[in-house]
């Protein structure tokens, strides 16, 4: 606790500028790649780029890099709940037509 700068180090302007440049580059990349026919991988690549951008924003701009273990745990826990929401809903909709339902 005594060493405050150790707890919350201040990132340099250069770091933030590099993150911004990467984010802008990825935006242009994802837009350009969208016009190339990659089949089902179009969605996969678009989401992979979006996830990379999310990680950059969260780790650097939202200071997850420097945050406490408890905060990190809460963030990961939150994403886990989101995964449950998406996954469980999709298992329902994906499997509804597998078995014939009377009256449908």
């Amino acid at each position: 606790m005594s060493d405050h700068s150790q707890e919350h180090p201040i990132d340099s302007v250069k770091t933030y500028a590099l993150v911004l440049a990467t984010l802008l580059f990825l935006t242009i990349l994802t837009t350009a790649v969208a016009y190339v026919d990659l089949g089902v991988f179009s969605t996969v690549i678009a989401l992979a780029i979006a996830c990379t951008k999310m990680l950059l924003v969260a780790l650097f701009f939202m200071h997850i890099r420097h945050s406490t273990k408890l905060t990190r745990l809460v963030v990961v826990g939150g994403l886990l709940w989101l995964a449950i929401l998406l996954f469980m809903t999709l298992t329902d909709f994906a499997t509804r037509t597998w078995i014939g339902v009377p009256g449908r």
């Binding site: 707890e7 990132d11 979006a50 809460v74």
Partner: protein, 225 residues
């Protein structure tokens, strides 16, 4: 036992042992709020995923009717605003009061620019009769029997971008409030928590758009080449 009898200051309220603890507590509280927001938007993303799966052909035509170049431009504007926001937080960490105001104003300008571009895009939808619920709704290239599913796409489009824009408006209000506080000179290197958690909110809204942009504008683009 920690000494709880300290005098209360803005950076150290009585219920906390140290300023560090108070700051970590605020950050954690903000993150818990943001997780409720993730779940809130998560439901809409789930709905979009399911309907896109069910009516993939109509959704592809509807999705490609959006202007991807304007969308990409607006994404860049929003990312710039996130950069200026994090610079405001950094100025807070350093206790530079004038710099805080400078970066907050820039963030407000970029945020407003984003909303302005969004308004132009929405206006285009009115001109093109792509407003769900309108009697004159018509999406070109979609058979008459499928027009309802095209309306579904635009319902989701307006709900998701509209809700995102609402969050931006709230964020802009927050920036104005922060500017007034900053002008009073209450933010120092010891106490800049409102800018810090305000920044978390702003970046969160940015992340939502990072996912909205490819999902709404891009992923069916290759089918039309």
């Amino acid at each position: 036992m920690a000494d709880h009898a300290h005098t209360e200051t803005i950076d150290l309220r009585v219920q906390f042992d140290t300023a560090e603890q108070q700051k970590d507590c605020s950050t954690l509280g903000m993150w818990i709020f943001l997780i409720t927001e993730i779940m809130f938007f998560g439901g809409m993303f789930a709905a979009y995923t399911i309907y896109r799966q069910m009516y993939s052909e109509v959704f592809a035509i509807a999705s490609t009717s959006l202007n991807a170049k304007i969308g990409a431009f607006n994404t860049c504007v929003l990312l710039l605003s996130s950069f200026t926001m994090v610079m405001a937080v950094r100025s807070g960490q350093l206790g530079k009061q004038k710099a805080i105001i400078f970066w907050l104003i820039l963030t407000l300008i970029f945020g407003s620019a984003f909303l302005g571009v969004k308004a132009i895009e929405w206006n285009e939808k009115f001109v093109e009769h792509h407003i769900p619920g309108q009697a004159v709704f018509h999406l070109e290239g979609v058979p008459q029997s499928e027009q309802g599913h095209a309306q579904l796409f635009f319902s989701l489009y307006f709900a998701m971008t509209g809700l995102h824009a609402l969050h931006m408006v709230v964020g802009a209000g927050m920036l104005v409030w922060l500017l007034f506080q900053a002008r009073k000179g209450i933010f120092t290197a010891k106490y800049f928590t409102p800018i810090d958690v305000g920044g978390l909110y702003w970046h969160f809204v940015d992340i939502i758009w990072i996912f909205l942009f490819p999902l709404l504008y891009l992923i069916d683009r290759h089918l039309k080449v």
